[in-house]
């Protein structure tokens, strides 16, 4: 059982941190192309809110359909690979969008969605997915939905401050993003290796019938 909890906590903390680290870094990706105004932050925050909503709905629905951590982890692997690609794709994406859309508000909103819709929506699936699994697992778990959100938010707190206060001063943005991607990939693969689904019994979920 401790391994199950450790797996959950690892997922919640690392993806909670990754989401906010990327949110902070995205302003550095946007400002060369769309300026450094409050508009950029409006686009960043509103885009992330949309991605969160998509992830919450999708995560909740998928966890009912497939209450298995391996399914979530497979999505997270895809998301991590996408994050690793961001340093390569963001320049051509921002370049071509800023050429086609003159309004920096619309332009930055479009660029944020092209670059971040997929990875952030998948990252936002983590909390509702784990809540869904715990609900299906019924009373055997001591974790409440509130506790899940608490752990994920602690991760977000750490990710925000570590990035804004320290990482951005120490490393190039592209290297920080690759670092985030590598951590996400490692955590996803580790959680797959932990075989958490075998350790929890959910009626009718883990057998093939």
């Amino acid at each position: 059982m401790p391994i199950v909890y450790a797996g959950f906590i690892l997922l919640l903390v690392s993806f909670g941190a990754a989401v906010m680290s990327l949110e902070i870094l995205s302003s550095n990706l946007m400002s060369p192309y769309f300026g450094g105004s409050i508009y950029i932050w409006g686009s960043i925050i509103s885009s992330f809110m949309v991605h969160f909503s998509v992830g919450y709905v999708l995560g909740g629905w998928l966890s009912r359909r497939f209450p298995r951590i391996s399914v979530l982890a497979a999505f997270l692997v895809v998301c991590s690979i996408w994050v690793l690609m961001i340093p390569v794709i963001y320049q051509p994406v921002c370049e071509s969008i800023s050429e086609h859309i003159a309004d920096v508000r619309l332009g930055s909103l479009a660029a944020m969605n092209v670059i971040f819709l997929v990875p952030i929506s998948i990252m936002a699936m983590v909390s509702p997915y784990i809540i869904g699994i715990i609900a299906a697992w019924q009373r055997q778990s001591g974790l409440t939905a509130g506790m899940i959100l608490f752990i994920s938010t602690v991760g977000s707190f750490a990710g925000t401050n570590a990035t804004a206060f320290y990482l951005i001063s120490l490393f190039p943005v592209s290297r920080i993003i690759i670092g985030v991607g590598v951590i996400c990939l490692a955590v996803s693969l580790l959680v797959l290796l932990l075989r958490i689904d075998r350790r929890i019994r959910i009626l009718g979920a883990n057998n093939c019938s």
Binding site: P32, F34, G36, I38, V104, S169, L170, P172, S174
Partner: protein, 298 residues
């Protein structure tokens, strides 16, 4: 001493303390305007005949100050130093100014350099309105103005300029995306043959070293004018080895030694051909620890 007297003394002491701190916090002068734009908290304050535009809450971060009786007098040292650019490109016909503030620089162009086409770029529409209302700024024939981010403007602009003046500041410092190698490369591509970029900045921090290093990574020649009365420095960057101090003196003579009230010979004395800077990172869009470097002394 009775208890009541003690309380009265403590009360009076505290009252005196608060009055003193309040007096220190609010400097003299009259506030003519105070509000928030989408970019900054903007205050316009007048003291005697000097009227200043201030960004942010720090009272010493004055963007523009204007002497109401002598609107072409350079209240700040740096604005006079920037006009030393004309010693490098005296025949300049077109200049692009990024960062309008109260519009002191366009005023000097209007009064003393009417033959030069000046295009000013200001990101904040409110700054332009306030410059017009409180600093007598207007766009005369021969000058033009765009409300746009400096980098976006240069990117979209098809124009070429003999001089590009970089004077964009927000309430912290120079916006990070206007201080990188990529931005300077863009600015360089918008220069006419032998054109120059002039950057206003502060010298007493490590960011200054990094900005010099960044300029040197883009331009073949980088000159620095170090302020004598202030912590301001001006970088003049060019691809052509434009002039040595002796050549600058000749140019100043040719220009009559002055542009309006600005004494060009006094500015030449501040020129350093090779600026003494410590090893510093080149700022790029990817790696730009401007906030950290700004806080470190050089």
């Amino acid at each position: 001493m009775t208890g009541q007297t003690k309380i009265a003394i403590i009360f009076l002491f505290l009252l005196g303390f608060f009055t003193a701190t309040r007096a220190m916090a609010a400097p003299g002068g009259q506030i003519l305007y105070e509000s928030d734009s989408i970019y900054h908290h903007i205050t316009i304050r007048q003291e005697g005949m000097e009227r200043c535009m201030i960004f942010g809450r720090q009272r010493d971060l004055r963007q523009t100050c204007l002497d109401l009786e002598k609107p072409d007098a350079s209240v700040f040292e740096y604005t006079a130093m920037m006009f030393a650019g004309f010693l490098f490109r005296p025949e300049a016909k077109s200049v692009c100014l990024i960062g309008l503030g109260g519009g002191y620089i366009p005023t000097v162009f209007r009064m003393h350099l009417p033959q030069v086409r000046l295009h000013s770029v200001e990101v904040d529409p409110l700054v332009e309105k306030l410059a017009a209302k409180y600093f007598g700024f207007s766009v005369p024939a021969g000058q033009s103005l765009s409300i746009d981010d400096g980098r976006q403007f240069l990117k979209k602009s098809k124009g070429r300029y003999d001089q590009i003046w970089l004077d964009a500041f927000n309430s912290d410092y120079i916006p990070a995306h206007l201080a990188t190698k990529e931005f300077l490369t863009l600015a360089r591509s918008r220069l006419t043959d032998g054109g120059i970029v002039i950057q206003n900045l502060f010298c007493g921090n490590r960011l200054y070293d990094a900005q010099i290093a960044t300029m040197r990574s883009v331009f073949a020649k980088v000159f620095v004018f170090e302020g004598q009365k202030s912590g301001s420095c001006i970088i003049v960057a060019s691809d052509r080895p434009a002039a040595d101090p002796e050549g600058l003196r000749k140019q100043a003579q040719r220009l009559g030694g002055r542009i309006g009230r600005i004494d060009l010979f006094a500015e030449i004395a501040k020129c350093r051909v090779t600026a003494a800077v410590k090893k510093a990172p080149i700022l790029t869009d990817d790696y730009n620890p401007a906030n950290l470097l700004l806080m470190q002394k050089n």
